[in-house]
Symmetry: C2
């Protein structure tokens, strides 16, 4: 059978680029092979296998992962990825950050810019089998389905494996997509040292495992027409709302602070409230208050670390240090919260507005800022219509949402249209050996990914052919 | 000059035991020697000298103390105490807990039960020069003044040095007055092991330094007619109210709890508030709430220790453990607070009344209970009239108060009338090398102590002579 040409649709061609509603009958009704997808996913989890679940009955699927970036296990998974994608007809390129780009040619040959999907094969030291891995394996399954049905796309289609997304071994998350996007200098990334380790740098380890490519890690050297990423949600929203697919329109902004409250140590028995400067009571009020303001502003506020001194039952703490992590879909919301908390409300709290006491002081430092990311409408709409087009999925099963966590897609969206597809994970648990997504949900997500890439390819073709018969570039 | 007989006062004798208002003209106008008192206090601080103050200009007085109970330094101070009190005409008895009783005979000879003052010569490892030491040294100064003026009391007068009041070396505070009162078994006290040390027991160390007496440590073997204790306040109330003397009518009750809150770890970015069970937010609300209820009930509530897990900026804590120390002058107040907090309010807080979220659980354990102590009216009134009788002190300078911290007087009050006299300490600071009370305040306190012992002796005489010409016993 000859390759099916999916680049012809009189209906959609009339509407052009802005038509997200592609006639489903114009697209091949391609299905992913759920059994094959899951078998292959678990097969690759032999490299870097972690601890079994507490009540594991099938350790071949119920075992966590510990596949740190650029470890021997990661090398084995990479080797499998390169070999497999080559066997499926791809050209494979490795860049200077070890990012692997597997590209399947389109009808116009290898010249067009590929439409990509991708994610990462590295895991947390006590991670699970789905975070990142599912996205890459769904890409490989996409290639298998395309080969199986001899699908012909207008432009090349690629699957990318990004290096060290977790930041667990080399301590910058998403560092290699960051270098690709031109947001993190290559030298800084190469010089990153292994956490708590031997002093080995990322460059050392790339070289050691044979993944220090010669192609520059850059959106200019390896351009992308679009980037779609399938990922587990890592949160409980889809599960709670009983929806199967999340279409991600952006990643919320977050900022991390350290707040230090300085009061005065005092004997708990002999010091009346009026003579106290209780650093812990004040910190407790700040933590409770930051929650209240986050509720009011549809944001999140969390404290995960708190330490105090001197730490004695009968001594009022003189100093407390705590972390504050605030998140919201818009940077402006965080600007507002930051200003309100640090300029006004926390000041009022240390001035002991509520009960008389001695005034305390506080200082705050910004530890990390991650601006809000808005994905591009073109990719969001394509992914959404792909999800809604699946026969078994009604639109009620699809939810447009914001990602709470960062992903490589944050960096790709700086340089090309991007969106993500989320599937449910049990109890919202991730970064945990017992992270789990059902085979059905994994397959549904992979199908939405496949359909998104096909649709995007088709829309590019429509767009290009309104003004020209040639594909872009 | 012959001994002055202070046991005759026709005015007071008419009124009998219940007359606290003794005609001041009937009492010898005895003054303590401030220079001598302070010189002797600092002299004895050569044994167990600690770290100098940060801005010390005179290290001979501006140095902290580190005189752990039954150490070589403590032995040296004890030897000085025994030698000095003997030289001032006392009989010295050491009991099985190393408590030292120095007794000066009265007019009726050594047979009457003595009226005591006393405190302790041991200190915290990083303690100051006043806590405990002032009370013993003021007793020695009392003996000096009595000898100097050849004062004759109706009954014997004693000065007691209690062993290991601090509980810093052998981990039960006030352990030796506790044994004396029959509240702590001798065997348990003797078996106490040195904190973080060699395994040496209290009995070992008493024996080693030669202070394991043969007289039983017991209120029956060594009875007291009364116990007055001069002490620094260890709190800021007198200083804040600009008063020089506190007359202590009791010691507040306290209870120590450990509260454990169990929620669920969750990603701070991907978990909406409705899906969280945030153990730290809940603990923060509990801490803030326990403060509020304490304010309403004229009590104290303090958290000095808090630990959480897992302790990562972007993970909602799944477990928090914190200490809760509540104090009030009455046991009933603590009963109320305990019931309200643990049966109702904390339950409401973990049920996420305030913002929707998953329910958490909490458990609480009682770590320590110290009931309220009420001192006896006879001693309180005597000390109060003594303070008010001092020419330079108007009654505005005297405050009746409750002690926030425990003292040996808590145990003596179980077996004999007791009260305490407090003097101001700078900023309420104690258990700190920079603990400080002015020479004037120390001398004023010592004068009130001296006058209290003299007045109590006189009142006993009045009381005994209403029904009999013999002293009690």
């Amino acid at each position: 059978m000859s390759r099916r040409d999916i680049s012809s649709s009189s209906h959609a061609r009339k509407e052009g680029w802005k038509t997200w509603e592609i006639d489903d009958n114009d697209l091949p009704q391609l299905k992913v092979n759920q059994t094959r997808l899951m078998a292959e996913l678990h097969h690759t989890c032999q490299w870097g296998s972690g601890v079994p679940w507490k009540d594991a009955t099938d350790p071949s699927t119920q075992t966590g992962m510990s596949r740190l970036a650029l470890s021997d296990a990661d090398k084995a998974a990479r080797d499998w990825f390169v070999e497999t994608t080559r066997s499926l007809g791809c050209d494979v390129t490795v860049d200077a950050m070890g990012n692997i780009f597997a590209v399947r040619p389109g009808s116009y040959g290898p010249k067009g810019i590929p439409t990509y999907c991708g994610s990462h094969l590295d895991t947390q030291p006590a991670g699970g089998r789905y975070d990142g891995i599912l996205g890459v394996l769904a890409g490989v399954e996409m290639l298998r389905v395309m080969k199986e049905h001899d699908v012909e796309t207008a432009y090349p289609v690629g699957v990318v494996n990004w290096t060290n997304e977790e930041g667990a071994r080399f301590p910058i998350s998403m560092v290699s997509s960051g270098v690709w996007a031109g947001e993190i200098p290559l030298e800084r990334a190469h010089a990153l040292k292994e956490v708590g380790g031997s002093g080995a740098t990322m460059r050392d380890e790339l070289e050691r495992i044979g993944y220090l490519g010669t192609v520059p890690a850059s959106y200019e050297a390896m351009p992308m027409a679009a980037h779609f990423e399938l990922h587990i949600e890592q949160g409980p929203i889809l599960e709670a709302e009983n929806r199967r697919i999340g279409i991600v329109e952006g990643v919320q902004a977050y900022r991390w602070y350290t707040v230090e409250v300085v009061g005065r140590e005092a004997h708990t028995g002999t010091t009346p409230f009026s003579a106290r400067a209780d650093a812990l009571l004040t910190a407790a009020r700040m933590i409770a208050y930051s929650h209240e303001i986050a509720v009011r502003k549809y944001a999140l506020a969390s404290t995960g670390i708190l330490s105090l001194s001197p730490g004695s039952v009968n001594t009022v703490p003189g100093k407390v240090t705590f972390s504050l992590d605030i998140r919201a879909p818009f940077d402006k919301t965080l600007d507002d919260i930051e200003r309100t908390l640090f300029q006004f409300d926390f000041r009022q709290i240390v001035s002991s507005e509520y009960t008389k006491g001695r005034e305390l002081s506080f200082t705050w430092t910004v530890d990390s800022v991650s601006p809000a990311t808005r994905f591009q409408k073109s990719c969001i709409e394509v992914a959404k219509s792909a999800a809604e087009s699946l026969g078994k999925e009604s639109s009620r099963n699809v939810r447009v949402m914001t990602s709470g966590a960062g992903h490589d897609s944050v960096y790709t969206s700086r340089r090309c249209p991007t969106s993500m597809i989320f599937v449910r994970c049990r109890d919202g648990v991730s970064h945990n050996p017992e992270e789990y997504a059902s085979p059905e949900d994994c397959a549904t997500g992979a199908e939405v990914l496949l359909q998104s890439v096909l649709r995007y390819d088709r829309l590019r073709y429509f767009k290009d052919n309104k003004s020209s018969d040639k594909p872009i570039r």
